[in-house]
């Protein structure tokens, strides 16, 4: 049996005297779309960064993150780039660069046609535009295209729809479902969006414990209450189920 694309072994993450993730044993395989849920400051971004093999100042890490059975620290930077791509919460652009050129620069392993990626994310018209002039939502969709363009099988996306309007949130969810050759780990807050986008859910509880499983089983009212600390009502409607925080 070949090693899993992404695996954590007793992964523990602590920062500022607080344990964010406690002894997490977990695997993600190609074709799976994992959503990481948890309260603000629960450690979602920290976990995604650890999964990407990039540290943070003040972070204490125990246990290991493996890609294809090999610890992240043992991957040379050049090889790691063809295994994982990471979408930070916000781009920090300082220099003018055209969107098309940005995508071209992001390619490590040619896997997707950059133009088709922009097309799928309603960003084809932006190809000639300067990134410094894009709106937050446009820049984020371009960043998503960048991530996929890198060609890595593991995509780690930190709040990929934070700046998207409802129509584009839907579009991004549908686009993520087409990325069948990738394993996705996504942090997000909107439970209704997660129900549409995710196949699996990893929940970070306030005490650092983690719960994991298929999305349908994980998104139950009692569990969501434990995760977020507020009540939940699940409404069965015409088009499916809807989650309302109370």
């Amino acid at each position: 049996m070949s090693a899993a694309l992404l695996e954590t072994r007793a992964l523990t993450l602590a920062a500022a005297g607080r344990t964010l993730v406690r002894a997490l044993d977990w695997q993600a395989a190609i074709g799976e779309r994992w959503c990481v849920i948890g309260r603000n400051a629960a450690g979602k971004s920290t976990l995604l960064r650890a999964l990407a093999g990039i540290g943070e100042p003040g972070l204490q890490q125990g246990g290991e993150v493996h890609w294809f059975g090999r610890a992240t620290a043992q991957w040379p930077a050049a090889d790691a780039a063809s295994v994982r791509a990471f979408l930070p919460q916000q781009a920090s652009d300082r220099f003018p660069i055209a969107v098309g050129r940005l995508l071209e620069l992001s390619i490590v392993q040619p896997r997707h046609d950059p133009h088709a990626l922009l097309e799928a994310l309603d960003a084809a018209a932006l190809a000639e535009r300067n990134v410094l002039e894009l709106s937050g939502g446009e820049r984020q969709r371009v960043a998503l295209a960048q991530c996929a363009a890198q060609g890595a099988p593991l995509l780690l996306l930190d709040e990929p729809v934070a700046f998207q309007d409802p129509a584009h949130q839907l579009q991004v969810a549908q686009w993520l479902a087409t990325l069948s050759g990738h394993a996705l780990v996504i942090s997000a807050h909107d439970v209704n969006w997660i129900a549409r986008a995710a196949t699996h859910v990893l929940a970070l509880l306030p005490d650092g414990r983690c719960e994991q499983g298929p999305a349908r089983r994980m998104l139950q009212a009692e569990r969501l209450q434990r995760v977020y600390g507020c009540g939940w009502r699940v409404v069965e409607g015409d088009g499916g189920r809807f989650w309302v925080a109370q």
């Binding site: 990039i54 050049a78 780039a81 920090s92 055209a98 300067n130």
Partner: protein, 311 residues
């Protein structure tokens, strides 16, 4: 709009033509007119030095901007000119060659910055604010030292020292060396153009794309310090070129390091030749300090560029 394809080619051709026109004017115009022997023996070396120094300063600025991820950075922000000034003044007091003192000072300031920035460069986080602050503090320190040394300079040498601190091409001699160094530096940037373009996206982004960020930043710092040291050693502390040339090219729409790496030295050479032409001819026979002329002419142009707001 990014400049690309035929529009970029026209832009480059225009810049090349401008540079050649400035070169021709610089060789032909001067206090002694069109004496062929004088042009060859006096004016040509000076014009060549202006071109080489301008190219080096502009390249140094381009590298510093990539290093610090700050479009307004240049070697002077990092204290290189201050270091060079202190070195030159020390050499003047000790009776050594000012040019060697300037080079030693610029390199020492680069090394000091490297030492201060060592931890920031070792991690892959975006160290720009820390590096800029370290550079600004070095510049302040060297500025204070230079002022202190200036008050101790003997009166008969004071005028030369001040003139030199502002930037002066009249005694520039290492023309061949500066031109050759500019060519080498351009080729070094071209060899790293894709990595530098990725570094401009952020040190973490570049790291995630597999670039050896730490080594690349070290190379940029050493290269930019050496280029600035050579320029300062040959013509004194001329500011503005390293800041304005790459920035103006970016405002015009040149975005890729592949294009900037050779358009920048071309623009720097043209700018400094033009400034020197103005400095030595506008109030002839009095020569104005080229550094002051550069700032007087260039700063308003730069402000207009900024006010237009096109990135």
């Amino acid at each position: 709009m990014p400049l690309a394809g035929s529009r970029l080619a026209w832009f480059a051709a225009g810049l090349l033509a401008t540079t050649l026109a400035v070169l021709a004017l610089s060789l032909l115009i001067g206090s002694a007119g069109l004496d062929a022997e004088l042009i060859r023996s006096l004016r040509a070396p000076r014009v060549a030095a202006a071109a080489g120094v301008g190219a080096l300063l502009a390249l140094s600025g381009l590298a510093m901007q990539a290093l610090l991820r700050n479009p307004l950075a240049d070697p002077y922000v990092l204290g290189t000119s201050g270091g060079a000034a202190v070195g030159a003044l020390l050499a003047l007091m000790l009776g050594a060659a000012m040019a060697f003192g300037a080079a030693a000072g610029a390199l020492a300031s680069g090394a000091l910055l490297l030492l201060l920035a060592r931890r920031a460069l070792a991690t892959s986080d975006d160290a720009s604010p820390r590096l800029i602050l370290a550079g600004a503090m070095l510049a302040a320190l060297f500025g204070a030292l230079a002022t202190l040394l200036l008050t101790l300079t003997p009166e008969q040498r004071l005028r030369g020292a001040i003139f030199w601190l502002v930037g002066d091409l009249s005694g520039a001699d290492h023309a061949g060396a500066t031109l050759l160094a500019a060519l080498v530096f351009t080729l070094a940037l071209l060899a790293r153009q894709r990595a530098i373009d990725r570094l401009l996206l952020g040190s973490e982004a570049a790291h995630l794309l597999g670039e050896p960020v730490r080594r690349l930043r070290l190379e940029l710092l050493v290269g930019a310090s050496l280029a600035a040291a050579l320029a300062v050693a040959s013509a004194g502390a001329i500011g503005f070129v390293g800041l304005v040339v790459p920035h103006a090219l970016r405002l015009a729409g040149v975005q890729r390091t592949r294009d900037l790496a050779w358009l920048t030295p071309l623009g720097g050479a043209a700018l400094l030749m033009a400034a020197d032409l103005v400095a030595r001819s506008i109030a002839s026979p009095i020569e104005l300090p080229v550094g002051a002329v550069m700032a007087l002419v260039g700063a308003p142009v730069f402000i207009v560029f900024l006010a237009r707001g096109t990135r």
